[in-house]
């Protein structure tokens, strides 16, 4: 087992699901560590310094949300919440306490692996010299230094707020951002800022960046939760 394999800590109390996660993740070249309780998970997280944590919310000894909040106080490790609670409020809560992503059970391996790749890339970017000044996602190219945006080579003009909204989404590309997180990052917690406000800018951003705004390729809606930039 080589040392540069990314380590994934699975905190999950159901053995069958743990078995499935281990088999899948190992076959894609990850090192998997397991914990069946929150206490065990906490200890493992501190000891192993994993690259990604997969966290179940329904743990026997402690609520997963509380554990996520606790880990967040001393570690920036990406936490992907894995839960059978499919309600939007639960997702929002998990993301707002500092989880990086959310998967509702049941989920396919493809989806799981994609989320893990996004999480690892964000870690790498954070460790590196920060975000490149030029970012390319599909047909979209954004030059942060000159604030130039092109779509399939054609220049696109964005208003200041549209630009900052797009910048936040790019900074967290692939991750779900809740309405609250987006409003906070773009408008800095202005009291009047409402999800509706966000939708207005998202609609005009889509009009400028998507070939068909009703079948978006980049700016994906997570109903009731927020938005995600697909990459």
């Amino acid at each position: 087992m080589s040392q540069d394999q990314p380590v994934i800590l699975v905190i999950e109390d159901e053995p069958p699901l743990r078995r499935y996660l281990r088999a899948t993740l190992q076959s894609f070249g990850y090192r998997v560590e397991e914990a069946g309780t929150a206490a065990e998970g906490k200890a493992q997280a501190a000891l192993l310094n994993p690259d990604v944590i997969l966290l179940d919310l329904g743990l026997p000894d402690q609520d997963g949300l509380a554990l996520a909040r606790e880990i967040r106080t001393w570690s920036r490790v990406p936490i992907i919440v894995v839960s059978a609670r499919g309600k939007e409020e639960d997702k929002i809560q998990a993301l707002d306490v500092g989880a990086d992503d959310y998967l509702t059970k049941p989920f396919g391996s493809g989806e799981l692996l994609a989320r893990i790749r996004v999480a690892l890339r964000h870690t790498a970017e954070a460790a590196g010299a920060g975000v490149d000044s030029v970012v390319e996602i599909g047909p979209l190219r954004v030059d942060f230094a000159s604030r130039e945006i092109t779509l399939d080579g054609a220049e696109v003009h964005l208003s200041p707020n549209e630009f900052s909204l797009l910048a936040v989404l790019i900074r967290h590309a692939g991750k779900v951002l809740t309405h609250r997180q987006l409003l906070h990052e773009v408008w800095g917690g202005v009291a009047s800022a409402q999800p509706t406000y966000l939708r207005v800018y998202m609609a005009s951003l889509r009009k400028k960046l998507e070939a068909d705004p009703a079948r978006p390729r980049l700016l994906i809606t997570e109903p009731g939760v927020g938005y995600r930039l697909k990459c």
Partner: protein, 500 residues
């Protein structure tokens, strides 16, 4: 209607009447005798007496005597009287005022009493109308309180016992219902006997409490808060209490009957649901169990292709199970009233777009013709996405692989209309309404998996939005499901700073 004001000391009227009589006398004295003038004054006193009662009549009499003596009796313009017989006239005028005034007062009192009685009868009668409107106990409570407060012009409360039999406190303008008062009211209910002010039981209160109902079914207490010293009208109030009590009793029985009916319906649905769901759960589970056991213990001739087929059917059946469980949970939440519609302004393209991207893999080989007008709709994005997912899922299930889907969205005055059309066989004639019923499965869907929950959920959600959903078969074939959602208020706009 408030009772007419009690006749007040209408002194000005008496003075005016005497002044008029004096002026009249000056006009006619030339042609008439002094006796006629006396009669004129007497007439004036009688008028004042019948109109205004004894007090003003006495005032008018004294003034009349004064004027008569001063202006008309010799020696004129003094108050001295030469002729002793005029002293008799004066006494008779005062006596007349006393008698007529008293009599008129009594007649007026009697008339008022009769009027009161009539009003009370009318009040009782109209209370019947108020109660005939039906409704539950709370509705009756409010209507009766409002009506009686207006009708009797005093604070009235209908006190109902809670589940533990203790009366629940209420408030109203002018009604003081502190712990003591409430205790006395409770006493009335427990002992089935009037209590409070004006009764023999615990009379030291502000309120009068009349119990309603009988020993087996105490209904509540009707509480009145008469002004201190106001006349007791207990017989009327008791008649009112009886009527209210009957209405409340009726409401309770109706409620119990409705509950029993709902329970029976729920029981029936539960058993239907159970048999349907257990079938729909067992079938995929059977496939999964069978397929996995043959994968774990493969026959000697098993090929990789066989194994792939088994895995594929496990995957498909698992997804079917997931869909069923989700639908069941959604329906349970909808029916138990746990679902609250949280409306937000959402662009139509965003809600359609999120449903389409959720179904991306299933739509890969399907051309989708999208024609959406630009419109903002107040809706719950999570619930509405569920509706679109279910409708699209049906369209995919019941139309040939690779056939096209059409989605159109129109903005009409006051609403938006979304239509999803497929190129399948459409609905069987006559089942366009029934497909929205729970557990109803279309005749054409005998082959396709499903429990008949999807469209029932759609209807529940759309109706919770105040909208309408309907199904139809197109003339050229193909099913169309149309949802119309109301649009009220003004959609948001870009602030000036951002306008391009």
């Amino acid at each position: 209607m408030p009772p007419p004001a009690t006749p007040r000391w209408t002194a000005p009227a008496a003075v005016v009447a005497v002044v008029l009589a004096t002026l009249g006398s000056f006009l006619v004295i030339r042609w008439l005798q002094l006796a006629d003038v006396v009669v004129l004054y007497m007439f004036c006193i009688t008028v004042v007496a019948t109109r205004s009662g004894r007090g003003p009549a006495m005032l008018a009499a004294v003034l009349s005597v004064g004027c008569l003596d001063f202006f008309f009796i010799v020696p004129k313009y003094t108050f001295s009287v030469e002729d002793v017989r005029y002293v008799g006239t004066f006494s008779m005028m005062l006596g007349l005022a006393w008698l007529v005034g008293g009599m008129a007062g009594r007649i007026r009192d009697q008339a008022r009493e009769a009027e009161d009685r009539e009003r009370h009868t009318a009040a009782l009668y109209r209370l019947g109308d108020v109660l005939a409107q039906g409704g539950d106990a709370a509705a009756i409570q409010e209507r009766v309180e409002a009506y009686l407060r207006r009708e009797l012009d005093l604070p009235v409360l209908v006190l109902l016992p809670g589940a533990d039999g203790a009366l629940q406190a209420r408030t109203a303008a002018g009604a003081i219902l502190n712990a003591d008062e409430l205790g006395v009211a409770q006493w009335a209910l427990d002992n089935r006997s009037p209590s409070g002010v004006g009764t023999a039981n615990l009379p030291g209160t502000r309120g009068l409490y009349l119990p309603m109902g009988n020993a087996r079914h105490p209904v509540g207490v009707l509480a009145f808060f008469p002004a201190p010293g106001a006349p007791a009208r207990q017989p009327l109030l008791e008649a009112l209490a009886t009527q209210v009590s009957l209405a409340l009793e009726r409401a309770r029985l109706t409620e119990e009957r409705a509950e029993a009916r709902i329970r029976a319906e729920q029981e029936h649905l539960r058993s239907t649901l159970l048999s349907s769901v257990s079938h729909d759960l067992r079938t995929p589970l059977g496939t999964i169990t069978g397929a996995t056991s043959s994968l774990l213990d493969p026959g000697p001739e098993a090929t990789t292709e066989d194994q792939r087929m088994l895995l594929l059917s496990i995957h498909q059946e698992s997804m079917r199970l997931e869909k069923l469980v989700n639908n069941l949970l959604e329906l349970t939440r909808l029916e138990s009233g746990q679902v609250q519609v949280k409306k937000e302004w959402v662009p139509m393209e965003e809600i359609v777009g999120s449903a389409l991207s959720r179904l991306e893999s299933q739509l890969e080989d399907r051309p989708v013709a999208l024609r959406l007008e630009e419109a903002w709709v107040p809706l719950d994005p999570v619930l509405l996405e569920q509706v679109l997912l279910n409708v699209l899922d049906n369209a995919l299930k019941f139309s040939p692989p690779g056939s096209a889907l059409e989605i159109t969205g129109r903005a009409e005055p006051g609403r938006v209309v979304l239509a999803i059309t497929d190129h399948g066989p459409g609905f069987a004639p006559g089942e366009e309404e029934r497909v929205f019923e729970k557990l109803y499965r279309g005749r054409s869907s005998a082959q396709a998996p499903g429990a008949g929950l999807g469209l029932a959920i759609c209807r529940g959600i759309v109706q919770a939005h105040g909208g309408v959903i309907k199904a139809e078969t197109m003339a050229r074939g193909g099913a169309r499901v149309t949802l119309a959602l109301p649009v009220e208020g003004t959609p948001p706009e870009l602030s000036g700073e951002e306008a391009p």
